[in-house]
Symmetry: none
């Protein structure tokens, strides 16, 4: 093969896209992304069929990165609260370490251009966390909340917490704990 398609270049484009989307949101252009990735405009299209494809692949990549972060070291056998605490922290750690990725993911999640199929695929692999919630529900530990509702609550409280952590880094620890307490109080009981 002449010059093989380089995983490095693909990642550079995805990474540049995350940065530009985090910064500019809906007005991120392919020209800007290519420039940021130090790649010709046309090159972007040898790695991604079109802009929507890039957006969807980026969404998937970000979801996968987050999942890896959350599931790395996940204490399968610990108590429910400990597992929740692990997931909570892993999420915050990832978000703190990857602010652009986090912002880009938030924007993509709300974009009309990310397909339903991508959303579904992106949520695969979060199975262990879902499983924990299912188990908790079965044990009657989740008040009366439907499982997906609890998942959504966790998500939205974590996002909110993350907003404060990002805004007040000096009090990151405090918000991290407070957010978790709020979450745990919100769902546990029964």
């Amino acid at each position: 093969m002449a010059r093989p398609k380089s995983e490095h270049k693909r990642n550079a484009i995805l990474s540049a896209a995350a940065g530009v989307i985090a910064e500019q949101g809906g007005s991120a252009t392919t020209a800007r992304i290519a420039k940021e990735a130090r790649v010709a405009e046309g090159t972007l299209f040898t790695y991604f069929a079109n802009k929507d494809d890039l957006l969807n692949q980026l969404y998937l990549e970000l979801k996968a990165g987050l999942r890896n972060a959350m599931l790395h070291g996940y204490p399968l056998d610990a108590s429910l609260r400990e597992r929740a605490w692990h997931a909570w922290n892993a999420y915050l750690d990832w978000a703190i370490a990857h602010p652009a990725e986090r912002r880009a993911l938030a924007r993509l999640t709300l974009s009309e251009r990310v397909t339903e199929a991508s959303r579904k695929a992106g949520n695969d692999g979060f199975a262990p966390i879902s499983a924990a919630l299912q188990e908790a529900a079965a044990l009657g530990k989740l008040r009366d909340h439907p499982v997906p509702f609890v998942g959504a609550i966790m998500n939205s409280l974590a996002e909110t917490t993350m907003d404060f952590v990002a805004h007040y880094p000096a009090e990151a620890g405090r918000y991290r704990t407070a957010g978790f307490e709020a979450f745990w109080s919100a769902i546990a009981g029964g």
Copy 2:
């Protein structure tokens, strides 16, 4: 430009904008909005200096509408929980009655085109609710959470609840209560 002739026309444009943004998100064009408002393309620009101005004014208008809904009949002298319950229900009622507005507001809140100034101005007028939270905090009834954090938690849980209400209208009542319980548990105590 400063004093448009017809308040009716201005409202038609704002209302059309809410509808189109709710539906199309980032790809809403001024041409489409004007058409929906039954107004010429150019007319839009005698009421709003440019698209960003329209977006920011719409954001403000939606925030004001929501505030009016939440504060109408607000029981200033009731218990903290009752006041929270009132606000909670008022929010959900507004969102159910104005789905396009709600969706547009959610999208604008995340848009890079709504300025910090607009966001600040938009949160003015929610003072009575903030006041209640302040009071609660002073009484030590809010665990240890900073007041703005509690406000944000309320907001994000209400949004999450609203998503489920919209998705499963048959179980609206259940989610309405469950969401409030989650919220109240999350923040009350101490």
Copy 3:
């Protein structure tokens, strides 16, 4: 109405398109056409939905112009030969007077982008000439040739004649006559 869409501008674009296509063929760009028409690039698209639409409308317009030229003064009651002679001359006169249009029409006729529907519509209105051929065939004056074949022969000989007239303007008259004689000999008889 603010500024009505002007027939003049539409014609300027069509005329510019004919000129540029005659000159550049397949590599005629919308930018070049707009420039030649002294119109902004975007304006072209307020008169024509897209480039293909422009091409098809131009084809139709050129066909209509040619038809008008050929049918103007057409001697419905003259002899067959006289009617053929009239059509022959009218075609050559039009082609000589409108060299760019003629060349553009030739190119469009061969383009993949002119639809079957346009071709069909373009041939409507040449009915009187077709009728003459039908009549001649009925009278057994066309040797044994099928009518459409005779029409095609006339067309191709006229085109060939026109090529020579264009190339050797000094001998235009000679080719005009010689071409017609060739045509008439080719089809008449029986």
Copy 4:
């Protein structure tokens, strides 16, 4: 570039080009041609300096192929009419046997990218046929037509005939004869 390694590969590219141009006309891309020739995109440019060069060489190649077909078995000593009949049939046989080549040649003949020099060179080698026409003219057998005009008439009538043969294969024989009769009547006489 001047001495490509493989004549086979050069032919594969030319042949693929004929096919793609016949099919797609002006929108034939070098990428598509290379793919069809089972050759890398870059390889095309080691055999041809650029796309225009490929087009011109293809034109020449097609002309040469047609010439070979027409001159093979050409009855130098037969009567004028017999020689014309031979050429006529040879052309139709070639066109029927090589539809893509014929179509590509027709398109290239009209393309602005085939140079005057190529056209001239392409017509060399049809000398024997020209010679026959010259001879006939000298003998006063060609009415009064200039020789090149007669050649062009033959060409355009053969093309027209070919269009009908391609469209109505069941009546190929009839059109073949009728076309020739039309041609012969058009030019012979005196």
